[in-house]
């Protein structure tokens, strides 16, 4: 059962990779990267069950957290153009 899930996830991973390589714009690549992050996270959970050690779910949590941090960092960067900086365009704190 878990092997079936893992194979499906591998297929999804490969397809997302195709999009990342084809992707005409950077945003396509980012979307693919985000999907790859999600799929990798699920893959970890499945792998943990497959090898009979489900305590590795911590790792999946780390993936999820850092995936979003990385994506948002890149996006912030693009939103503000080439000179966009983490820390610019910010209102003073209420």
């Amino acid at each position: 059962m878990f092997a079936a899930g893992a194979i499906a996830l591998l297929v999804a991973l490969a397809l997302a990779l195709v999009r990342a390589i084809l992707g005409p714009t950077v945003f396509d690549r980012l979307q693919a990267a985000n999907t790859i992050g999600t799929v990798a996270m699920l893959m970890l959970a499945v792998l943990g069950f497959l090898t009979g050690r489900p305590e590795f779910l911590d790792l999946a949590l780390v993936y999820g957290l850092l995936n979003v941090v990385g994506t948002i960092a890149v996006l912030k960067f693009f939103r503000h153009g080439d000179l966009g900086a983490p820390g610019e365009g910010v209102e003073p704190h209420p």
Partner: protein, 121 residues
Amino acid sequence: MSFTGHYTYWVTIFLMIAGLYIVIARGNLVKKLIGLGIFQTSVYILYIAPGKLIGGTAPILAASFHTYSNPLPHVLILTAIVVGVATLALGLAIVVRIREAYDSIEEDEILEIDRSEGEAQ
């Protein structure tokens, strides 16, 4: 000598060569650092893949398991990754300084500027 038995080595070597190629063939300094990063990750696999035992499990001792993969490479690589990112930061800092001094991060342009300055003196 079987295909499956040596496949990881070959992928490792491919990654290593790709990293090496980027480092020696590309002039852009940031790209060179990324190439160095790929080279580094190939070393991680080179260390970790031989430590894996099929049928073994991660080296966290539990009563229900008896075969464990080799923990020693994990320790070495664990520290190497963190050191790797610290040195990446150092390299990037140097690149930023170079950019400010030469207004370029292309190796050829930097060499060109150096040469013309040398002739001027």
